[in-house]
C-alpha cells in the first residue's frame, strides 16, 4: 500500500504521493455513489420524476435493490457512508488546510484567463472541475434530506420551491455526478497521465 514504492510492472518513475485522506475519500465516495445511484434509480422507477407512472424507466442493469422497498433499504443505508464520508472529508480538508492550496483559487482563475502556458491552464481546469463537484454532492445530500424528511425539514422543500423542483434537483445530481466523474478522470489523465489516476486509488 506504500504509494511511493515503484510499481512492479514498470520501472518508470514512482507514482505521485497522495495523502491517505484523499485516497480514502475517493474510494469511499465512488463506492457509496455507485450504491446511491443504483438504488436511487430503483426508487426513481416506481414513479419517474419525468412522466410519472407512464414515464420512461431505467433498465434493470442500472438498478440496485430489486424493488422499491429494497432500493430504499440500500439508499438509506448507503446514505450514511456517502454523507459521513463527505462530512469527514470536509473536516479533513479544513484541518489540513487542503482547501486553501488544493482547490480552485484566484491564481487558477487568473491562469485560465491570461496564461499562455497550456499545462498551467489544464491544471486550473482540473482544479475547477473537482472543486465544482463539492457543491453538487452537497446539493444532492440537501435535496435528499428534504425528500426523506419533508415534514421535519420542511424548510428544505420550501427552499427548492416545490416538491417537483426538489425531485428534479435530486435526480439531476445523478447525470451531473457521472459527467463530472468523466471530466475529472479525463482532466486528471491530461494533467498527470495514468500514473496520477493510479496513485489516487492505491
Amino acid at each position: 500500500m506504500d504509494s511511493s514504492a515503484p510499481s512492479k510492472k514498470s520501472r518508470s518513475k514512482p507514482l505521485p504521493t497522495q495523502a491517505t485522506g484523499a485516497k480514502l475519500f475517493h474510494w469511499l465516495n465512488i463506492i457509496s455513489l455507485v450504491m446511491m445511484i443504483g438504488s436511487g434509480l430503483q426508487i426513481y422507477n416506481s414513479n419517474p420524476v419525468f412522466g410519472g407512472r407512464g414515464g420512461w424507466q431505467f433498465p434493470p442493469i442500472f438498478l440496485l435493490g430489486g424493488w422499491l422497498a429494497g432500493g430504499r433499504h440500500w439508499h438509506f443505508a448507503a446514505m450514511w457512508l456517502f454523507a459521513l464520508n463527505l462530512f469527514w472529508y470536509g473536516v479533513y480538508i479544513f484541518i489540513t488546510r487542503r482547501w486553501q492550496h488544493r482547490f480552485l483559487g484566484y491564481n487558477d482563475l487568473k491562469a485560465l484567463q491570461n496564461s499562455q502556458n497550456q499545462k498551467r491552464k489544464n491544471y486550473s481546469w482540473h482544479r475547477l472541475a473537482y472543486t465544482a463537484i463539492i457543491p453538487v454532492l452537497m446539493l444532492a445530500l440537501l435535496s435528499g434530506m428534504g425528500m426523506y424528511k419533508p415534514a421535519q425539514f420542511h424548510w428544505i422543500v420550501d427552499l427548492f420551491g416545490s416538491w417537483q423542483a426538489l425531485r428534479v434537483v435530486h435526480f439531476i445530481s445523478v447525470p451531473t455526478v457521472i459527467i463530472f466523474a468523466l471530466i475529472h478522470s479525463l482532466l486528471g489523465l491530461k494533467v498527470g497521465g495514468l500514473r496520477l489516476i493510479q496513485s489516487i486509488f492505491r
Binding site: I37, Q42, L63, L68, A69, G71, H73, W74, A151, R167
Partner: protein
Amino acid sequence: MFPDSPRLWQRRQFLQLSGLSSIGLLLGGCGLVGSDIIGKSFEPLNQSVEALLLNPQKLVPEFPASAIEPNALIINTFDITPDIDVKAFRLIIDGEVNRPLNLSLEQLQIMPLSVMTIRHVCVEGWAAIVQWGGVRLRDLVALAQPKANARYIYFKSADGYYESWDMPSALHPQTLMVYQKNGNPLSVENGAPLRVASPIKLGYKQSKWVTRITLVSELLPEKGYWEDQGYEWFGGL
C-alpha cells in the same frame, strides 16, 4: 453474496474488470437477496434517527387552501375497494384501554372537527397537497383512556389492510381520523367512511377504511401489510 464467481477470478483481474458499471451489475445481481440484509441491518439505526427527529408536539407547517392539488392524489389500493354501509359502520377502539369504544360515524362527526392542508407523500416518490378534515386521533385515544403500557397502535381496515404505528406519531396533533377531503365528504376510493391522515408518515401508513383501532404494549409479528412484504416500518416524514 457472490455465490460462485470470486474463486474463478484472480483478485487483480477482478479489480481490473470492475469499472463503475460492472460493480453496479454485480450489486444489482445480489440486490434482492442483499437488500433484505441491508434493510434489517440499517433499519434500527434509521428508525432511531427518525424517532429522534420527530417532535411529537411540533406542528408541521400547513398550506393555504389555494395550494390544494385536487388531482394529484393518486389512488393506491393493495387489493379491493370495500363496500361499507355507512349506517352500519362502527369504529371500534380496544386493546390496552380502560374504556373500549364502539362509535358510529355520527358520533365521530359530533366531536371537534380538525381541518388541515398538508403534503401527502407516497413512498413511490410523488406527493400531493390535500386538505383533510376529521377527528384528532389523540382525542379518540384519550376518550378510550389508554393504559400506561400502551406503546403501539394498530389500524385494521375493512379490506384486510393492517398497519401499526408508534404511539408518539399516533398522538401527534396532526394525526387525524378523517371523513372529509378538500372540503367534501371523503370518497370511497380515498377511504370513506374513515381513514388515517397525517403529514408525518408515508402514505402506506395512512390506512383507508379503518374499522378498528387497537392499542398494544408490544408489536405483533405482523407489523403492517407492506412492512411484512419488506418495507420499512417507521415510515416517518
